[in-house]
Subunit: 504 residues, 2 copies
């Protein structure tokens, strides 16, 4: 069938043509079927949507990158031909059936994801299948390799390449903003690529973006890391294991992080980014990604063993994830706290403890003895802050920025305690939900500042925490949610009294 | 945020607004998030897509039914407010986690599906979860009830109401076109609602649509059935358990039929359609929905037991599904064969056998003894054909149509055998794929006519079957596929000869 091209733009639907319903029926196509679209010597396969009015009979709606690929102008004639589903859909079904996938099957799926040949329905079935049925380590290794092969890699002239990663899930985990400058100031090279938030209140890339640009090219990452020793870049801006970000399209709305996909995402990114030595932080605690120590150990074993298979020497630390790290949660407010730590201002000792322990593990991999002590020295001496300023400058941020300069949401609300006692628990998940209700991580200035943490004594009418938001309406939503959820549980020392023997 | 309404039409995305990317970022929204859209006293919740050019800054793209619901004209101002995910997404995640769903959770999911509040990603996760993790009978009962409650029901004045259903999976299963007129000509009332094809080469509604209209209203179904005793209508045209057709949106591209969903789909439709006595056909065979007799028995047990729970008396027959029923596969060509059977022309005896057995089971439920013998008599006497003509006429078809009048694809290709022997097997799945490649079921005239069936002797250069298509290009695709798949396996009686003792 010959049709006239018309430009249609819907983001995140990169492989889509829209046909007039009558044309679709004529050629025997329905919504979600696939066609080959041909123009001159160029052909691509895309998913079909149908419309009675968006596209007239005889026209075809093409998204921008399909037009570019086909080298088509508006008004040009293209020909379409119905075609079948890609083979990868059969492999996705195998996984839903609980079967082990072959190396070939996994490669087909990842290639189709990267080339945006799968519809949302098919992509979601892949994510659901992996989540529901799991993968063994052989499959995960194939998955890692397929994810690496379908993207770019960074090759450094300077070696060795150190790296660090936290699998996240615990709010307030701004430790990368301490670890990278500490390690780099010790003279080791640590080029860190980070992700943006999937289901959290802010990924490291979201946080550091409030201080500097994180959309760096591979060339920039290489140059900055080799010159300065460290960098913090958004992994999604470069084409390292790009399938990961496409898979997130389905993980995000479902808020699921399938176990095999977590392993494969981290290790494919790290390998593509050139890592040779890796220190992993695995936070463990209720309402984090890793809820108990057994699962934490399983992750540690699988990370070490899969790393070895792909040529990375990895150590893991299971860290306490039972409440947020430090006092702040949200992109800008976390950048502020990290900078305060580098400036030597008072921050919770647990934040310093965790950051220097992990930075110390990296230093020891680099042959530096007493790594943790050394990390503390680099932090206290201001050398890490100096290094951070160099990194910020090289990433086009303001190197003179101080923690006081960082702006957070202009609307705020202090939350007070209506009871007396001790903070018995802080629910990570609920804290994240409140920050998200306040607009985070899309709105960088949304966040929470905790005045009380686990074990702290609280008086009636004493402040427990503050919520920040750029938007009044979102602040209200966050307050409503906070009042409903009550993420800080306060318990008195006396739980019940029984003045007489009755009704006990 | 206030925005100006602009009409956007993308079919099958009934709950969708498109925002300009800049507006979306301002308000902290990304693709797949949700907003409340408000106009005057009307508010609805929809999924957000973002676009840089389809919708200008300050405008909002609304699909037609959102505009109607909000009573909005193009150019009117609507206000939007970000909102969270529906609760049902949490329940879908519970199912992916392998948990049992509560009555409340299932109702939330089905209500959100019917009200089109779920995105493709979320809908696919539901279907994947049910497929991958299954449901127990308690959950399935809740599911059936939720599917009934969210749709209309038919209340008859005439009783009892008989019904018949085949769970499908075997190609060529045109038996409903025989059973309905046979039962109705015996004086019983059998109003049959049928589905269109999901993963088959043609559902009963697709087949009967070549003879009469199947898009009937509830009033028409009731009137025709009570007057004539029988009707064959498309279930999707009426609002009986409408969630079923929406769930198919995700099942179709994945080609999966989750077990609990099959039970719930059938029984919710039947109960909504007023059925009091039901005879189920469960075809069993390689490459059908039910591949072995054990699974067939499990279906039978669950159908009978779940039916009892919702007040239907059900009997099941496991039928032979190891090859297509009759000689024809495809909408028009199956209607032709069914009409030939009613006209007393020669058709495969297995088609008559199966149809009269099942029709006989219905007759016996209605108190008629020797049901199968009685069914045969009604067929041979021409009474069933007379009844069929009445039904066709009442459904605005041509009652004078004969099997010879039915047109099938104008392009055809005879497939010959290149070997001598016996047909060892006919692969159902491959036959369906070839008919679909030829354009079916969207194109009604696509189909296959088998000249040989299992056990038949085949000579070299003897015709095995013919492929029909309305489109030359699709015929070519079907031929290529047929040559590649070879759905009819021919084996000689002598598999090997060993003239001497060597190399055995």
């Amino acid at each position: 069938m010959e049709l006239k091209a018309k430009k249609i733009d819907i983001e995140a639907r990169d492989q889509l043509v829209i046909l007039n319903s009558a044309d679709a029926e004529d050629i025997g196509l329905r919504s979600q079927d696939r066609v080959n679209v041909n123009h001159g010597e160029n052909t691509c396969t895309t998913i079909v949507e149908t419309s009675k009015s968006l596209v007239e009979k005889g026209d075809i709606g093409l998204v921008e990158n399909v037009m570019e690929f086909l080298e088509v102008e508006e008004g040009s004639i293209v020909t379409i031909k119905p075609t079948g589903k890609p083979e990868s859909v059969e492999h996705i079904k195998e996984k839903l059936d609980g079967q082990e996938l072959s190396e070939h099957g996994i490669r087909e799926i990842i290639q189709d994801i990267v080339n945006k040949r799968l519809s949302d329905i098919e992509l979601s079935a892949y994510v659901s299948g992996i989540y529901s049925q799991g993968m063994n380590n052989r499959e995960i290794k194939y998955l890692i390799n397929a994810m690496i092969e379908t993207g770019d890699t960074i090759e450094y002239d300077r070696h060795p390449v150190f790296d660090h990663h936290s699998i996240g899930g615990v709010p307030g985990n701004k430790i990368t903003l301490l670890i990278v400058p500490i390690v780099a100031s010790a003279g080791l090279m640590i080029p860190k690529t980070s992700s943006r938030a999937i289901s959290s209140a802010g990924g490291t890339a979201d946080i550091f973006e409030t201080l500097a640009e994180v959309d760096l090219s591979i060339g920039e990452i290489k140059e900055i890391a080799e010159d300065v020793g460290g960098t913090i870049a958004w992994g999604g801006a470069v084409n390292l294991a790009p399938s990961d970000d496409m898979i997130i399209r389905a993980e995000y709305p479902l808020r699921i992080d399938p176990y095999p996909q977590v392993l494969a995402s981290v290790l494919s990114k790290k390998k593509s980014a050139g890592a040779e030595y890796l220190v992993m932080d695995i936070p463990v605690g209720a309402n984090t990604k890793v809820e108990n120590i057994e699962l934490g150990r399983k992750y540690a074993r699988d990370f070490v063993s899969l790393s070895e298979d792909i040529g990375i020497e990895t150590s893991c630390a299971l860290s306490y994830g039972g409440q947020p790290i430090g006092n702040t949660i949200g992109p800008a407010i976390e950048a502020k706290e990290a900078l305060m730590a580098l400036e030597g201002k008072e921050v919770p000792s647990s934040l310093i403890e965790k950051s220097t322990t992990l930075a110390g593990m990296v230093l020891e991999k680099g042959g530096i003895r007493d790594g943790k002590e050394e990390a503390k020295k680099l932090l206290e001496s201001g050398e890490a802050l100096e290094k951070m300023k160099q990194i910020i400058e090289r990433q086009r941020g303001d190197p003179e920025i101080s923690s006081e300069d960082i702006e957070i949401g202009k609307h705020s609300k202090k939350i007070y305690s209506d009871e007396e006692g001790y903070v018995d628990s802080i629910n990570n998940d609920e804290i994240i939900k409140i920050v998200r209700a306040a607009g985070g991580p899309n709105s960088k200035k949304a966040g929470i500042m905790l005045n009380k943490k686990k074990g702290d004594k609280v008086e009636i009418d004493e402040q427990k925490y503050t919520i920040y938001s750029e938007y009044k309406s979102k602040l209200k939503e966050a307050i409503d949610l906070a009042n409903h959820l009550k993420p800080l549980k306060v318990e008195g020392m006396i739980l019940e009294t029984h003045p007489d023997i009755k009704n006990i």
